[in-house]
Every structure is written in C-alpha cells, then in structure tokens.
Amino acid sequence: MNFKGTLPTLILEALRHEPSHGYRIAQQIKERSRGVLDFKEGTLYPALHKLENDGLVKSYAGVEEGRTRRYYRITESGRRALSKDRAQWREVSQAVTVLLGEV
C-alpha cells in the first residue's frame, strides 16, 4: 500500500518506546501493520536522515552482538511532532471514514 508522507511518523512511532536501528525499525513497521504497509527499505534511511536534520531523532553508535550499529532515538521535539501527527491523522482518518460511508 502506498503511504507516501507517513513514513516519518511511522518511524517516530517505532522509536517511541526505545532506540532502534534501521533494520529493526523497518521490520517493526511491517510486522505491526501485518504486512500492509510494505515499503522499500532503501527509502527508510533518507527519511531517518531527514528526521535527524530536523532534530526529531538523534543517532549514535551502539554495539549489538559484537557489531557496531547506528542507533536512532527520538528527541523531545520528535515526541511533540509525533503527538501532533497522531492528532492530525485521527482527524483525517475520521473524515475519510465518514466520507466513505463506513460509519
């Protein structure tokens, strides 16, 4: 499914509870959406860099299973952006549900 524009919000949501690395973020989004939100993983990292440039996430080097990986954690501005996005998404999805006569 095409969900262009929502990837940054999904990344922030994936990082809400704990820091993570790119691969795990991608898997988390796919698993939690039960495969509906399937995206090409090469586009994940540009989105992560954009979030980092905007100060919404911060990256650091961490070690997992003896290998150094780049981890990302959400910042305070990121949390604020996420709650704003979530509120907007609720409004939009409610409006679309009403328009499509699902209620």
Binding site: H21, G22, Y23, A26, F39, K40, E41, G42, T43, Y45, P46, A47, H49, K50, E52, N53, G55, R67, R69, R70
Partner: protein
C-alpha cells in the same frame, strides 16, 4: 555475484553524493543488507536466495539516490563548502588581510570626497556607490553574524544593498544592461542557492561560519 549486485545498487544510490555522505550510505546499507540476509537464511533461504531477497528489499536505487540527495550533502555542495572554508581561512587567518579589505572601501570613499571637492561629480558618485557596496560586503568578518536569525537578516540586507548599488550605478540603463548584470551575478546566485541547500541539510550546530553569510 550478488555482492556485485549490492555494490551496483550502492553505486547508483550514491551517485553525485559527497564522499562522506556516500561512505555513510554504504555503511548503513551494508549493515542493513547483512541483517536482512541473515534473517532470510535463518528462515530457510539459501545463500543466493537470501542475497537476492536482501537486495530486492532495498527497492529502486535511483529512487533512493533521489531521496538521499535531498537530505545528504552532494559532491557539488561539498565543493562549495570546501571553497568557502578555504576563502574564510585565507581572509581570517591574516589580520592584515581583514584590515585591507576594510581599508579599500574607506579609501574609495575618501577619494570620492576629494573628487567631489575638485568638481568631478560623476566619478565621485560612482566611487561612493562602489565604496558603500564594498564596505558592506568586505565588512562581513567584523559583523556579529553568528545566529541563524541574524544570518537571515544579513543575507536579505546584502542582496538589497547589492541590488541598490547596481541600480544606482547603472541608473536608467539598469534594464538595458540587465543581461550583463544577470550574467555577472549568476555565479553568486548559484553559490547562494547551494548554500541554502546545505543549510537545510546540516544541523545548525554543525554550520561552518560561511553558512551564516
């Protein structure tokens, strides 16, 4: 064979990126590829199948490249930064160069006063305009421009002064010679455009001095 596929993907995804940006992309994608490959193999795929799947999961390299170029420094932007840093070092490392840059417009203004007194009004006018413009441009190292908001104000003021100087210098002929002005100012527009792009890509904390100007 499929490692070559990954390298091919990386070559296309890092096209026109700066050396450091390309290295960053290569490191993160290789790390991702390794994890995807391991997972596919632990799910029962053969090594070849796992390689193929891991590269396919990355998607289109050109699309990724297009997105990377929007968020990471390109080779052109890195060159603009290097040149700017070199210029800044050349000017700021020698105190006398800074003072000479300030002395030139002052000399032009004094010469204009002398010419005005001796009756050469037209030449004096041109010198005043040139001196004023140069004083604003060459005085940059002395100005307290070190926050993003001040930098924005300074940039607007600089372009306003430059346009005003050109309008004053050319007077009614400004429109007639607009092609010449545009041709001469084009390199400045281009550098300004590149710097604006760099500002969007780098966090403010990492801005070199030249990006404030």
């Amino acid at each position: 064979m499929t490692v070559t596929q990954l390298e091919n993907w990386l070559d296309r995804a890092t096209w026109r990126l700066a050396k450091d940006s390309a290295a960053q992309v290569r490191a993160e994608i290789r790390e991702h590829y390794e994890l995807a490959r391991q997972e596919a193999m632990s799910a029962g795929a053969t090594a070849d199948e796992a390689d193929r799947r891991a590269v396919a999961e990355l998607g289109d390299a050109e699309t990724a490249n297009c997105q990377y170029r929007k968020v990471l420094l390109t080779a052109t932007e890195a060159r603009v930064l290097r040149q700017g840093n070199w210029e800044a070092r050349a000017v700021c490392s020698q105190m006398w160069v800074k003072w000479i840059m300030l002395a030139i417009p002052l000399a032009a203004l004094f010469a204009a006063m002398g010419l005005r007194l001796s009756g050469a009004t037209a030449v004096a006018r041109v010198l005043v305009i040139m001196g004023g413009g140069m004083a604003f441009l060459f005085g940059v190292p002395f100005l307290p421009v070190y926050t993003p908001s001040r930098a924005r104000i300074f940039r607007v003021a600089r372009w306003a002064v430059m346009i005003a100087v050109l309008l004053l210098a050319f007077g009614h002929d400004a429109l007639k010679y607009s092609w010449l002005l545009v041709s001469c100012l084009w390199p400045m527009f281009w550098v300004e455009w590149q710097r604006a792009s760099i500002r969007r890509k780098l966090p403010v904390a990492e801005w070199p001095k030249q990006l404030y100007r």
